[in-house]
């Protein structure tokens, strides 16, 4: 039976541990979206997110034998991605959102055509402001509102109690609002 992303995590992990690269490829295909989206929103750059997603899975492959099957695989995976993202020396100014991508998604998101422009501006403001937040607040906002994970799962991924996650989320949201209120467009770095 060929491994596929639809198969249970435990099966794919066990096959990967025994050296089955096909099973690991299926595992990577299953979780690459989660890891990439987290890194993209956390770092603000698609190319950095792409590099670090690959690096995350290379580390996962190397350390797979250390993974305890009693614990959640996504939590372990996200912990690796998060540590990599924090260690990564990123630029303070995030890359601007791709206008072509924004234009293509705005129609799906925006209920009223007259609000499209406002929403585009709001998207860029949120994208830039997220980069200014402390890592501890940025990661929880990204997980809860951009990856759309329930709060109990976010708490599990961050290895903190749910109550702590909740209070941290509200603090982060208020801080984001303060940044939006005093928003000034970021200077676009030269050469971009």
């Amino acid at each position: 039976m060929n491994p596929s992303p639809e198969q249970p995590d435990r099966f794919l992990i066990e096959r990967s541990k025994s050296g089955d690269l096909g099973a690991f490829e299926a595992l990577a295909r299953k979780f690459q979206g989660l890891v990439f989206r987290f890194l993209f929103h956390f770092l603000g750059s698609a190319s950095d997110a792409e590099d670090l997603t690959q690096e995350t899975f290379l580390i996962v492959y190397r350390k797979l034998s250390q993974h305890d099957s009693a614990h959640s695989f996504p939590a372990w995976l996200m912990a690796i991605a998060r540590n990599l993202a924090i260690s990564y020396k990123r630029k303070n100014i995030p890359f601007p959102l791709d206008p072509a991508v924004i234009a293509s998604v705005i129609k799906d998101v925006c209920p009223a055509p007259e609000r499209e422009l406002l929403m585009k501006e709001a998207a860029q403001e949120v994208h830039d402001s997220l980069a200014k937040l402390p890592e501890i607040h940025r990661e929880i906002l990204v997980m809860r509102y951009l990856l759309d994970l329930p709060l109990n799962e976010v708490a599990l991924l961050l290895n903190i109690p749910e109550g702590t996650a909740k209070s941290r989320l509200f603090k982060a949201r208020n801080e984001l609002k303060e940044l939006l209120e005093s928003y000034r467009p970021a200077e676009i770095p030269l050469g971009l």
């Binding site: 989206r37 260690s87 020396k89 929403m119 709001a122 949120v126 939006l180």
Partner: protein, 306 residues
């Protein structure tokens, strides 16, 4: 809903969506309307940003990288980069360990430098180098020494080998420290003594100022150490005879056997250790007559046949 309730609602509601009551209240309250607009702007931005992320398919590239890394060993640069990523102070814990270790290292270096500086003995720049002098009383001057000597005598540098020939006699001195008569001998002068290679040597050693630095006579069969004394050595191919005229002499064989001789005692050492035990004291010559036990021509010792 009043202003306080709206504020509470905006701050403590986990979901981003806004119920109609909030809208209804904000229509009549400019301050709340502003807060609501800000909240809405945040929601709109988050919704678009969330949708703007298009994850590419990286699984194939990841597996290709794994395969290339498995087949090829990790380059050194990559290893160093990963090591630096591991140790670099990017998190509070890592930073505290990193800077803590750096502090300890700097402290240890400073301590080592300061401690060493306090224990270093300053160089005695004015202390003259040991200069040996040699004077050939009989026999021919070897060619190797001709450049140093005039009329059979002169100063020689440390490390020079003196060869008197079978019947030759040479007086070797280290002024203020040692007077030595070499009879049919071959010896090398050193910084702290001599190396007797063959023949006989009558040695008189003056104690050095401070008296801590011993004079050493090295031979194949024993190391003879003295502080200040008068003694003679006779080295043949099979043995070394040490005879003490005055003071005390310490004789140590390469095998670790040690004897201390007093005035009038002698010992013979061979390749396997002692050949004879220290003899009973023989009639001790007076110090004044023993300053130079070898008188050229009149008191020539017999050269051993072997």
């Amino acid at each position: 809903m009043n202003c306080h309730e709206l504020q509470q609602f905006l701050e403590t509601r986990e979901q981003l969506s806004l119920p109609v009551e909030c809208e209804a209240h904000a229509r009549g309250c400019p301050a709340c309307l502003k807060k609501l607009e800000l909240h809405r702007r945040m929601i709109d931005g988050l919704l678009v940003v969330r949708a703007a992320c298009r994850p590419p398919d990286l699984a194939g590239a990841i597996v290709a990288k794994i395969q290339s890394r498995v087949s090829a060993p990790e380059p050194l640069v990559e290893k160093l980069r990963r090591w630096w990523q591991f140790v670099s102070p990017t998190t509070p814990l890592k930073a505290s360990v990193f800077y803590g270790m750096a502090g300890v290292l700097i402290f240890a270096l400073c301590w080592a430098v300061l401690y060493r500086a306090s224990t270093l003995v300053p160089l005695k720049k004015d202390e003259p180098m040991a200069v040996w002098r040699v004077s050939f009383l009989s026999g021919s001057v070897p060619k190797s020494l001709e450049t140093f000597l005039h009329a059979g005598s002169g100063a020689i540098p440390t490390g020079t080998t003196i060869e008197t020939g079978p019947a030759g006699i040479a007086q070797v001195t280290l002024p203020g420290r040692c007077e030595l008569d070499a009879v049919g001998a071959r010896l090398e002068v050193l910084e702290d003594g001599i190396r007797l290679l063959s023949g006989k040597a009558n040695i008189q050693v003056q104690p050095e100022a401070g008296g801590r630095k011993p004079f050493k006579a090295r031979t194949p069969f024993a190391l003879v150490t003295v502080i200040g004394t008068h003694y003679s050595l006779e080295l043949t191919k099979t043995s070394l005879t040490t005879t003490v005229q005055a003071g005390r002499v310490r004789v140590e064989t390469p095998g670790g056997l040690v004897k201390e001789l007093g005035a009038g005692e002698k010992v013979i050492a061979g390749p396997a250790g002692w050949i004879t035990a220290p003899s009973l004291p023989f009639p001790q010559p007076s110090l004044s007559s023993a300053t130079n036990t070898v008188q050229p021509g009149t008191d020539r010792p017999t050269v051993p046949e072997d």
